[in-house]
Symmetry: C2
Subunit: 208 residues, 2 copies
Amino acid sequence: MTTAKRDTYTPETLLTVAVRVFNERGYDGTSMEHLSRAAGISKSSIYHHVAGKEELLRRAVSRAIDGLFRILDEPGAVRGRAVERVEYVTRRTVEVLMAELPYVTLLLRVRGNTKTERWALERRREFDQRVSALLKAAVADGDLRADVDIRLATRLLFGMVNSLVEWYRPHPEGAVTGPGGADGAWAVDDLPGTVVRLAFEGMRSAGR
Amino acid sequence: MTTAKRDTYTPETLLTVAVRVFNERGYDGTSMEHLSRAAGISKSSIYHHVAGKEELLRRAVSRAIDGLFRILDEPGAVRGRAVERVEYVTRRTVEVLMAELPYVTLLLRVRGNTKTERWALERRREFDQRVSALLKAAVADGDLRADVDIRLATRLLFGMVNSLVEWYRPHPEGAVTGPGGADGAWAVDDLPGTVVRLAFEGMRSAGR
């Protein structure tokens, strides 16, 4: 039998627990019972805070989506040449992924079985299209190569950026940590800047 | 009640069905009952071909792993400058992902709960390290930039390459297909070549 602790949760702290369980078990595989056990409070206490697990999902993915869309309104994303704006958005996207790791991880794993999941997928697609439009403008300016399909470039750019949720683990001293095993941890000074350099300048030395 | 059809499977054709079910339900979420229903033959017929679901997993991920490791023995991967070898391996890795999509998808989703999964993760890590060593040699040759951590570059390169399993869908006429919805399908002449160009030369126009 579960011994329920006194419910001292706020909707925000309950969300932290729920996101961890969703990421561990998958949203589909998580029941209110799992959430109740992880939080150490009764199911009726959870219902005191939220209408159900789909509300927790909506709050969690909204946090990730809002963080990403806010980038697009920042001065660096709206002023200057398109290539600078898209590099800025790429850098800030990596920063938001690092800062909101569990929330973005959940967003990227959403599958589309519920209304909330389909809405989240639609918003992700919208964000991708905004970045795609910036890439297109930068090609038109002559700053980005014209020999690569924009939609494909968008996918590959996000493939690189979004892979962070698979291997980036925050470290107390700011080092980037591999997923354990033989790799261990290693220090990276500037992960967002490195992603931008590799994506836009490539791995080859200048002039090669 | 399941009406069992006559068992005309070979271990190979049974594998095709199993990999599809593993990718849909997750390996952990797949029971012999699910496999039996998907194949339309009895569980005992499946046991006639294989010892159990872990043997099917081992055969499936072996196919992906063997395909990847064979690349490293090809002439393009063992002769020439390190930078040319690593570009060759990147191109061929994309080709193997496209050709063996369901098998590589399964490999990339393996989590490590069973002995076979831990073995598969270890082999993946070994492949990444072989590519990492090539990148390191190319930096030492002066062909790749020295201002990026090699382990990080390896992760980002594979992040870009492996993202294919999320969005690449083969098309009868060779077009690359988006994951449905507003994106639709679009044609890409040379996906492996595009990945190599973006990863090594970057998105910026030459000289910018």
